[in-house]
Symmetry: C2
Subunit: 509 residues, 2 copies
Amino acid sequence: MNALAAHLPDAAGLIARRAGILTYQSPVVYMRVDCEICRSEGFEAQTRVEIEWKGRTVIATVHHVAADWLGHGEAGLSEPAWRVLGLSGGEMLAIRHPPVLESERHIRGKTYGASLDYEKLKTIMHDVAAGRLSDLHLASFVTATAGGRMSHEETVALTRAMIDVGERLHWPFSPVMDKHCVGGLPGNRTTPLVVAIVTACGLVMPKTSSRAITSPAGTADTMETLAPVNLDLQAMRRVVEKVGGCIVWGGSVQLSPADDVLIRVSRPLDLDGTAQLVASVLSKKAAAGSERVLIDIPVGPTAKVRSEEAADELGGLLEHVGEAVGLQLRVVRTDGTQPVGRGVGPALEARDVLAVLQRDSAAPADLRERALLLAGHLLEIGGKAGPGAGYALAQQALDSGQAWTQFVAICEAQGGLRQPPVAPHVRPYLAGAAGVVTAVDNRKLAMVAKLAGAPGAPAAGITLEVKLGDRIARGQPLFHVHAQTTGELEYAQAYANRQQGLVTIEEIA
Amino acid sequence: MNALAAHLPDAAGLIARRAGILTYQSPVVYMRVDCEICRSEGFEAQTRVEIEWKGRTVIATVHHVAADWLGHGEAGLSEPAWRVLGLSGGEMLAIRHPPVLESERHIRGKTYGASLDYEKLKTIMHDVAAGRLSDLHLASFVTATAGGRMSHEETVALTRAMIDVGERLHWPFSPVMDKHCVGGLPGNRTTPLVVAIVTACGLVMPKTSSRAITSPAGTADTMETLAPVNLDLQAMRRVVEKVGGCIVWGGSVQLSPADDVLIRVSRPLDLDGTAQLVASVLSKKAAAGSERVLIDIPVGPTAKVRSEEAADELGGLLEHVGEAVGLQLRVVRTDGTQPVGRGVGPALEARDVLAVLQRDSAAPADLRERALLLAGHLLEIGGKAGPGAGYALAQQALDSGQAWTQFVAICEAQGGLRQPPVAPHVRPYLAGAAGVVTAVDNRKLAMVAKLAGAPGAPAAGITLEVKLGDRIARGQPLFHVHAQTTGELEYAQAYANRQQGLVTIEEIA
């Protein structure tokens, strides 16, 4: 029997100790297996407990420790728990059974067929954002709301709830433009180009972008090789006031925080249901203070959206919910059959972006075309060009050099334009046979780029030297691997050599 | 770049180290934050990885460690991972991205509305039992199959699949009798009585029971205060051959192992859907080799089954699925409005059982009545009594002392009858006012028993001294707390003193 128990009528007390273990968004508390408090309170392995210190609380999963690094009377906290409580070590923590959350009842209700209204969804999103729900409950929510089980009304309410539990930006400009691409294609780095073009034409576009999560580069990673992107809200506002646009990392602003948590859970379950996708995209846009938003839906057999019918359904729901939350939306479909540009990896994609802006004759034509198309639509919905006249205006801004000048101005305002780094080690991957390129495995190519070091090593990645339909000779480079170290180069190459069908070449009779 | 990587074409290698952390059924692998293999392979915090050693594999969640207890080039394994791989420390482990499991696709399909057939369910149950599915996927499965989304056909297939992925017992006797109570009431310890009565009458009943999970006592915990219950299959067979029955712990036999995993996940989600409940109960019975099974459904406002309609639905499905998997079932309903007997806690419940068997005049009448009722039904479906004649036969076996003699024989065969322990510290909880008992909070009383030390301290718990409707005087004991240590006694009492409505007493005008 621990002597503390008698003094703590409502909770057991243990001394805080930093375990130094990263458990991502899932707080864990480590307790000794011989901890008397655990026994008397019934804190078994995997139990959820509420930990309190000075009014702050976190709900954590109990893991029992039979090793010596944790002392008697101590509770080890994993990093997420440590951060939330703001500890420095040695504090006396109150540990108790967690309250039953209303959200848990609502999730259970939805599972049993009840519908969710705004109030219930807001309660759930609040607990999601605050990390109060277990992974089990998060997975249950994501499952119970997938597969067409959310009405349009519920999807609107979910989007509103996701917006309302986070911060929301307000801009002293109008219209505020934004864009989003549903399901990225490798190398499809149009955002820096689009922002440069439309802001060169006088529109305001304060763009926040993400870093890579599972891919070799996110827009923020690519942009960071050209200018600083870790701007806080104040700095971001100054940039936008000065030059009309920015391309910064969105992670320092708490926009739709529940969405980040739900994405972590729905990704491994492969449950990117339409309702959740729409709520995710539109809540982020509305929270960012955007007013007129272009949505790009690449359609192709290996893209996220695989058919025109699926694009119809998604587009229709995006428009319905967008209108309900006060966004003016235009949805366009683009070719989603193969990668875009040459580079895959932060700096290599940045080089493609620079080549297009600088009107280099070797610039990837497909990247340029897509950027002009998207920028044209934004110019139209932003009121700078009449219907059908946006593309020509975008082309003029790009070809005249105005977009490049504007891009330089944005980079300078963000802290200074810089040259993307160059990897010291480059090695070609050669065609084993002559023929025509009939398929490219995006997933495996992305893995090669990641093994080469991207995005951690920004110069690393691959440059794809062929497109579908290209006729090639035996021994011709199909792609180059770029790496910071020879070890990584060899590791990536060893992986590439073991794979079948990275680039498929068929002999044509 | 770790030098190992170049030598390991398909997987990264790290040295096995026992982390000494209990993560229940969820294997965790601890890797250093500066682990090069993690970076190059993209093993981020919360990633799932497959770990292999000598052909054995386990799928574990990655937690990153920034503390000194884990060395460079080492992978720390939590206890479940350590056990599955059968390690002793220092082994070179292969660590790689896990294969995409077919079960994950099937779960996703069910979420999107597809139905599950036997083959798919067997694949899922196999991965569930082998611990290959993440908690996220387990929660997703439980959610996608709850809320009436399983047809009768799917429930039959699920039950078969759960049976087929575990071991199945076969007995050289027939009929093999069994019983199950849906949703236990506190103190409702009829099993030892029922087994003693029906085997005294010549039926065979090899009963496996569970230990407490969240309650102050399971049947195995109670029985263990009277005789050894940790018998392996061989020993269990010898007992049954000798005396026709047993009451042992089922945990050492792998019957319906998937069920144990699903219960862990569905309990915190509070998703004890009818389909899963039926599959859980009947798979365990069929796997245990039982042929004729009595199902007891207590019905009452605070019981698991709250209405006659719910009992109708559950009973009907149990009978349908039971027939499909070859079980002969009888379903009976009993009073579920209040606790049964006096004791709550292993030894205190055992005392109630002994009192009934020994025909003690102070034996709890309600416990005796329930045992006779259930035993009577079993005698009828087992062919020892005609329709309606079972109760009288059971009563005769009990009142003649045959049941007590038989119970002693069972205990001796299991390793020897023993006296349940007595707690050294007992303290009454007194009525604060005179009146009539109008409500008893089962959950809070169970918590008092657990804080007093049950089931870890087998003598601990409470003895309830009143029943609903009893007229009591101020200062009269409502229950006694029994504890092994004064600390636990005080801890339990402090909790009891802080609660409202443990036992509600209303003044009657």
